[in-house]
């Protein structure tokens, strides 16, 4: 079995890192989604494909790439290490894996909601003297906010379910990098089924809640 405190700790750790990763990717996701939805630029389709890759690639492969990028032997990993930042095999690795894996879902969802904003409204705002920033923050974002929140919820749910990339980049260290998914895997491996089922119930509940909220937002966004 698993203690209540342990269950609580694993759940809270997953939620906290998931939330941090979602908040971290949100500004980038919004800007990139806007660039995809509203601007034409060279190699845009290549950039779009790269962003979507983690969605279709085996998560383990993505994890391996991340490990190569952030491992201490790579230039980036070395550079970060020299500044006292280590990504691999600690909670930061969990965060990076979650962020990379959930980023495509965020961008796709936000991009659709930007595309749904009538560009005529932005044009008219420009003729009324509004700067690009004002149009973005007073017209575009408020009209797309439901899609943005829905996208963030979807990304958050995806982050909570992350497994393959996380286990490669952060390992499965109880109390340090163990998320709900990793813990379930661990308990099943060690034959502790009651513990696995308890965590399973929590993941189902969380996933259902977030996806339901996200869908509800998208639907009500379409109506208005």
């Amino acid at each position: 079995m698993i203690s209540f405190l342990e269950t609580w700790h694993i759940t809270l750790f997953s939620l906290a890192v998931g939330l941090a990763s979602t908040l971290a990717i949100l500004p980038f996701g919004i800007v990139l989604a806007w660039l995809f939805a509203r601007k034409e630029w060279p190699l845009k389709s290549v950039a779009e494909t790269i962003v979507l890759l983690p969605l279709v690639m085996p998560p383990v492969s993505t994890g391996l790439i991340l490990l190569k990028i952030f491992g201490r032997r790579s230039p980036i990993g070395q550079w970060l290490y020299d500044r006292g930042i280590e990504i691999v095999f600690n909670w930061k690795g969990v965060l990076v894996a979650m962020a990379v894996m959930s980023f495509p879902l965020l961008v796709r969802s936000v991009r659709t909601s930007f595309a749904d904003v009538n560009p005529r409204l932005e044009q008219i705002a420009a003729t009324l003297g509004a700067s690009g920033w004002r149009i973005f923050f007073v017209i575009t974002i408020p009209l797309a906010y439901k899609g943005i929140i829905a996208g963030a919820l979807l990304a958050f749910s995806r982050a909570l379910g992350e497994f393959g990339a996380t286990i490669l980049l952060a390992g499965n260290i109880p109390g340090q990098t163990q998320t709900l998914s990793l813990a379930i895997f661990n308990f099943v491996q060690t034959g502790n089924d009651p513990a696995a089922y308890r965590l399973l119930a929590i993941t189902v509940l969380l996933a259902f809640t977030f996806v339901w909220c996200s869908e509800w937002l998208l639907r009500s966004g379409k109506k208005s």
């Binding site: 409204l121 044009q123 008219i124 003729t127 009324l128 208005s224």
Partner: protein, 356 residues
């Protein structure tokens, strides 16, 4: 105002080169002739490869001199066909969206209250724009554009999305805007009655090409008929003054600009006594003898000045103090033996006289 531009479009090239100076200029042409593209180019919302646009002596765009002012810096108020109000903002916030732009504010300042009065939208201020009717939304869009202190107001078929009865209710507001604010307007339409009701000058375009420009009465409608007999209408539009109304008889007497009085359907005394009456050329009967025992409210005597035959239709201009244009079949002209110089009687039903 100078407008010279060339824009390649899907089916043709928009190629316009005109200079004009009028309070309300109408850009008139059938749907798909490049009118909206032209307005977008003026507002800076569409890239033009080659051209020059100048408003009030200020160059907004010049491919030769490398000038291309961004839309926010052009001082253009744009009212598009669908109104394009910001759906998440209240009427008040919509109206005030461009109001603090003071780049172009001059001594002839426009106050918010004045605009609200003229367009009668003061009571709508705190409503969400999603709760407005089509006509209200257009008035709010107009107020928003006016309050941004534009150098030029672009109106892209602002009445096209409205049904006929609503159209006739909004037109007076547009005329009041024309009268109250010293803002030149460029009014795009494919409806000849809107041209007559509003414009001092009309520029006709067709498939992206300039056809003709001039005062509406000088070049419409006969020219338009030859240009497009398919969807043509023959319109008579007269400035008139309200004289008296009799609710029991359901009639109103008005005096046309030429001095002749006619009877139109009952309308209470309007705020401004001047109005415009439209009579369709197809709604006028011609008689060679004075008719008797007839229900029509108006029988006017006149003389035929001109008969023009266009694709089986006869466009007849009758001088009955003012010129009335009537459309008959060529057969009717032959049966009655109509010819230039012949005296005739115009028979017009009261109900055929519509106040714009």
């Amino acid at each position: 105002m100078l407008l010279r531009c060339r824009v390649p479009l899907a089916n043709f090239e928009l190629d316009i080169d005109v200079t004009f100076d009028a309070r309300v200029t109408s850009i008139f042409g059938p749907s798909g002739s490049g009118k909206t593209t032209l307005l977008d180019a003026i507002a800076g919302l569409r890239h033009i490869p080659v051209g020059e646009i100048e408003v009030n002596g200020r160059t907004l765009f010049s491919s030769a001199r490398g000038i291309n002012r961004p839309p926010r810096d052009r001082g253009i108020g744009y009212v598009s066909q669908e109104g394009a109000l910001f759906p998440h903002l209240s009427v008040r916030k919509n109206i005030l969206f461009g109001a603090n732009r003071d780049t172009y504010r001059k001594s002839k300042d426009i106050s918010m209250n004045h605009v609200l009065d003229v367009l009668e939208i003061g009571n709508l201020l705190d409503r969400p724009v999603t709760k407005l009717s089509g006509g209200e939304a257009q008035r709010v869009a107009l107020a928003r554009a006016i309050l941004s202190h534009p150098q030029l107001l672009l109106l892209d078929e602002p009445l096209a999305a409205l049904d006929v009865s609503l159209k006739e209710r909004i037109l007076p507001y547009l005329r009041r805007v024309r009268g109250e604010f010293a803002i030149p307007m460029l009014y795009v339409t494919h409806d000849v009655s809107e041209v007559f009701a509003l414009a001092d000058w009309v520029i006709m375009i067709r498939a992206g090409k300039f056809i003709e420009q001039g005062a509406p009465r000088a070049i419409l409608p006969s020219h338009w008929l030859t240009a497009d007999p398919e969807q043509s209408q023959v319109e008579n539009i007269f400035d008139a003054v309200w004289i008296e109304a009799d609710p029991n008889a359901g009639r109103t007497r008005v005096r046309l600009e030429c001095g002749r009085e006619i009877v139109i359907p009952y309308m209470a005394r309007p705020k401004e006594s001047s109005l415009q009456v439209r009579i369709r050329g197809d709604d006028i009967l011609l008689a060679t003898h004075p008719p008797a025992g007839i229900s029509a409210g108006n029988v006017l005597d006149g003389v035929i000045r001109d008969i023009e035959i266009v694709e089986g239709q006869a466009i007849i201009k009758v001088d009955a103090t003012d010129i009335f244009t009537v459309r008959l079949t060529v057969g009717a002209v032959q049966a009655l033996g109509l010819a230039e110089g012949r005296s005739v009687y115009l028979i017009i039903k009261t109900r055929s006289c519509v106040v714009l």
